[in-house]
Amino acid sequence: MMNIVAVVRLVPDLVEQLVVNPEEDNLDWDQTALTLNESDDHALEEALLVKEKHHGQLTVVAFDYGEIDQVLYMAAAKGADRIIKIAWPHPEPPNSLEMVGALGRLVPTLQADLVVMGCQSQTEFFGMAAAQLAARLGWPYVGVVRGVQNQAGGGWWKVFKEYPGAVLAEMEVQLPAVIGILTASQPPRYVPVSRIRAASQTARFETIDGMAKPEESAVNIRRVYLTPATSHAEMLKGTEEEVARRLVDLLVERGVLK
């Protein structure tokens, strides 16, 4: 049976305002709403598709911080067979190096054939966990992938890597491998709240202690700050009607209205 591992992470919810801590060396995590990393959501969907098509077993792995249980209940409701939480007793989410360290210790114990995770998360700047996990494991890696397939059977899988202009590079990769997903073959499936609620009653999580350790990067953070506006749009203000009229006048002046 094929063993698939999907890694999911929480990242800052960019719909909300970001707040930097007073020391200006990190986000203020107490004031930062977290959400599932978008490409991890797609990786989970791709893992579910592979599991369904090839009668595999899907293990979902996450670090235990924030409201990760809600994400994991959702994963269980969608069809994850096994859920593992890596204990993370620190106020800040783990950085890429810490993730790679812990996953590098955990994955070999899972007899995984295929590890999928988002090819990048919004907060990564001194590491990219998916590629670096592959290197740590000594496994092949392809990232920025839209969909994986096994048409011929056996240990070689087709992956479709995204390039500009909606062009895809069709590639083959030998398992075991880590695949960095950008987009799943189909949009992440909807799961009704009632099924998530039901999963919260029945799903069992395994929590693993001592797997994750703090790791320092050689990259020193000097300052974290909100992006200042270097140039800025002329902002139109007023009621909706006033703004709309003013904008139409401007479009006429600029000669862009047909």
């Binding site: 960019l14 990219m128 998916a130 800025h232 909706e240």
Partner: protein
């Protein structure tokens, strides 16, 4: 002080990418006159591709027998065995689909730190300073790294406008032994998108929707505005990923690069990956609830409001004007 910067060259369909040329310019600017810039090409590049690398002092061609196939893991492994011998201090990689694989793998193989999402770099006596853009461009992080080998992923647009003088352009060729090549990943072919859809790069007016459109049924609002303006609807990645619009309508790094006369951005935050594909539009109008959204940094006119309130008003104003005329 940085003595030598290596730039892996991305060749996409026999052409050196614009991003590679930008990264070479960045290496020249950041390294200064005393620094040697080495361009590293894989495979058997066509002469016209090599001719586009004259900004470099040295052009190292690694003949890998794979004719430049974009297999980043194999190329990273080949490079990793040569960095020490070449005396490279820093590797600059363009943040493309290929670069996003190559850079972290190479950094891991040589146990060097990786700095990703860089938009500015500065060489100091202590090492290298960089500014990284994360969280869809909403957050900047200034970082520094001491005097040690490092791999840097540079965002497109950071050094695009720099004009730099040519380097020495000395060409060296080097054979890659078959056993050096990681054969566990292979390139098969390029898959072109289905072209039954319209070509948004040819449209003069585009109405782009982002995550702020919230639901597929709300696309009607954008379509009505596009119709009133005589344009068509396109989108940023989250909308395409949901399957609400076909991939041929995606604007941005892995989608289309567009230069319309008018670009309306509805509910688009302005992530660097999206801005890369639309920043050269002649006139950009952005509507977003978040007045700090980075899209307002590239837009000419901005409206910080709920698009579901403003867009119907704009549509009405367009209709009213048409009736006046």
């Amino acid at each position: 002080m940085i003595r030598r910067i290596l730039v892996p060259v991305e060749i996409y369909r026999n052409q050196v990418t614009d991003l590679t040329r930008e990264v070479l310019a960045a290496a020249r600017v950041v390294g200064g006159e005393q620094c040697e810039v080495v361009a590293c090409v894989f495979g058997e590049p066509p002469p016209e591709a090599v001719a586009r690398l004259q900004v470099a002092d040295r052009i190292l061609i690694l003949r890998d027998g794979q004719v430049g196939q974009p297999v980043a893991i194999a190329q990273a492994a080949v490079l990793s065995r040569r960095l020490a011998q070449l005396g490279v201090d820093v590797v600059f990689v363009g943040s493309s689909s290929w670069g996003l694989d190559l850079a972290p793998l190479l950094a891991s193989f040589v146990d060097a730190p990786l700095i990703a999402n860089c938009q500015n770099l500065e060489c100091t006596t202590e090492g290298l300073r960089a500014t990284c853009r994360i969280c869809a461009g909403k957050l900047l992080v200034d970082v520094e790294i001491g005097q040690r080998l490092a791999v840097v992923l540079l965002l497109s647009g950071s050094y695009a406008r720099y004009e730099v003088p040519p380097g020495k352009g000395v060409i060296e060729k080097c054979e890659v032994a078959p056993e050096e090549w990681d054969a566990r990943v292979t390139f098969l072919r390029w898959v072109e998108p289905a072209r039954e859809d319209i070509d948004i790069t040819q449209e003069s007016t585009l109405v782009a929707v982002g995550r702020g459109i919230e639901r597929q049924e709300n696309l009607t609002l954008a379509e009505e505005l596009a119709e009133a303006l005589g344009g068509v609807v396109c989108g940023s990645r989250p909308v395409i990923d949901q399957g609400w619009l076909p991939p041929t309508r995606q604007v941005g790094k892995s989608g289309m690069t567009v230069k319309p006369k008018l670009y309306f951005a509805l509910g688009i935050s302005g992530a660097p990956e999206h801005v890369e594909g639309m920043k050269d539009a002649e006139l950009i109008v952005a509507i977003n609830r978040d007045e700090r959204a980075p899209i307002f940094n590239v837009a000419h006119y901005g409206i910080a409001a709920d698009l579901f309130d403003v867009v119907p008003a704009i549509k009405e104003a367009l209709v009213a004007r048409r009736q006046e005329v």
